[in-house]
Amino acid sequence: MPMSLEATDTKKKSNGSPALDIYLPPERKKIDDGGKPHVVAKNFSIYYGEFEAVKKVNADILSKYVTAIIGPSGCGKSTFLRAINRMNDLIPNCHTTGALMFDGEDVYGKFTDEVLLRKKIGMVFQKPNPFPKSIFDNIAYGPRLHGVRDRKTLEGIVEQSLRKAALWDEVSDRLDKNALGLSGGQQQRLCVARTLAVEPEILLLDEPTSALDPKATAKIEDLIQELRGSYTIMIVTHNMQQASRVSDHTMFFYEGVLVEHAPTSELFTRPKDQMTEDYITGRFS
């Protein structure tokens, strides 16, 4: 699925709807070693019991780019995201059909180790969820799980992860304090840092800013830009401006169906589907 990522002169080519102008995506650089299909869905459906929450999705998620998933509430976007690292296993009666491949390996294969999978596909949740432990122990939790015992190495990982999550300067002097004492925005960045500490390949963000104030939201968005190019990032968001600001590609879900999947610059300016246009122009939500 070849897709043009070059910034296009969107204003001229826009279909004339003034509402779309507010979503003018910023210019984005091409990533040299990215763009390979990292996660591939083929006729992938997710069921809650009898109910088909995600219907026969076909999509390639390209590596090292940011993919946003938008859609009205209950459209299956979070369900799809959580299916990628099998967090839906926690929900009883949830099963899938079709195929979901990660790096050429079947995510729902019989012999897939979901624990190893989740190490490679990290996730940040809607509400900041640090453990009730110190900041250091929060970040070191993952590496410790995977066998890092040496204090020096751990300290290195903690600092590196916090720096990547742009939190180091704010917390470096109180690593031994309880993480629950941080502000909401800081907690969320801590959760990003905690995920980065296990060196994942993919970062799944499930509405990471919906519980944050605008200032903290901006910081998280900046962080996503920083991480773009190093990790494949998928972000579920309700905020379409946010999707247009941070993502290279956008997937629009409606009632479990992937309606449109296109480069963000196109989807927000020249949507092919009438439903997409209606949604992003706010005719329904």
Binding site: N85, M87, L90, P92, V115, L116, L117, R118, K119, K120, G122, M123, F125, K127, N129, P130, F131, P132, Y141, G142, L145, H146, K177, N178, A179, L180, G181, C191, R194, T195, V198
Partner: protein
Amino acid sequence: MNLGTRKLLDHSFSALGFGSIVIMGLALLVVLTPIVSKGIGALVFQGTIEHRKILLNEFQRGDANAIGLQEAEANEYRQNAFAMLAAFDQELDQMEWSEQSKYRNNYDQVKKALRHLFGPIPGDTEPALTRFRYGQTRWDKAEEALHELLYEQKWDYSNPDVIAKPYYVSRATEFEGTSLVKLFSYVEENLDKMMLPEWTFYWGFITDKSIDAHFFGGIWPEIQGTIFLALGAMLFAFPLGVIAAIYFTEYAKDGFLTSMLRSANSTLAGVPSIVFGLFGLAFFINTMHVSHSKSVLAGSLTLAIMILPTIIRAAEEAILAVPKTYKEASLGLGSTKWNTIVTVILPAALPGILTGGVISLGRAAGETAPIIFTAAVSVGTAIGIGDVLNSPTPALSWNIYNLASEHEAAAEIRHVQYGMVLSLVSIVLLLNLSAIILRARISKKLKG
């Protein structure tokens, strides 16, 4: 509904709530006041010279010289009384036989009362039981014994329609015209010089062994037995309960078997404790032969079965109260289920689990029925930790019942019973208090 009515309703509801809290507080006060005031009486009282003699002879405590001097001082006054007895003995010998028999019976009662008050009187052989070797150790008891000496209790059977009423006849009038009359007024006037009461803080009540079935000494065997039984029960029930709770909350799939197990657990919580006691006897001792007869081990196992449902329930609630997000975060980082449970869920649930545990510990300490057939004996010494597998033990709860109803001289040693009640209530209250503090501390640590 208009504003006035709404406000009136609001006020009456808050008044109702306040009223019920006041009533609860008063009820607690009514219960606790006698427990505390009478229980304290076992530790703080006016001890007589007899009390000090026991401490010296049986526990080797106290200043032997000082006590010897006091004893000599008290004996000086007692000798006068005993001299009056000797004089009356002679007087009695010189009387006519018919005259003698008039006094003989009453005179024996006087001697008995004197022995009760002062211990053996001159001419007695050394009594076999410790309880008869000493007089009254407490001033309040000495005054009761004095009353016994001064008055004879008789029963009024004149009206056959009502239960006979007691009435008292002065012994001085019974012995009118003999030399013994002097004795009563002499003892009454000089009792304090014969007993030498002093305010005593008998700390040993908590830490001393009991002498001669609680006539003297302390209640340490009971306290130690209670501690052994409760801790033993926790040793079995706590790990088992927490593991069961983890199974229920994290592993069990909703189905017929799980709901059966859950309702079995709830039913177990509602079974009367005496049934557990019989079960413990039938199962642990008679069937499993964990010990030859009653033992701390069998009692602990029985108590463990009894508190297990409470621990499971508390741990289950605590685990369910841990935010799901913790679990998601941990699993999302590539943690295994077991690892998530151990490193994230259990630490976060710890305050609730421990609270449930400590409250169960309090319950295990206070229960009587389960240990009647499995562990408790009425009289015994403190057992060593090595004997828990096959020795029974006295325990506070059982011995309170025993002293209240089955002891041969329950009325004589009422103060010991009150002391035991206070000790048990204190132990349970302390445990519950420590549960509250523990919970607050861990919660604070978790919240940062």
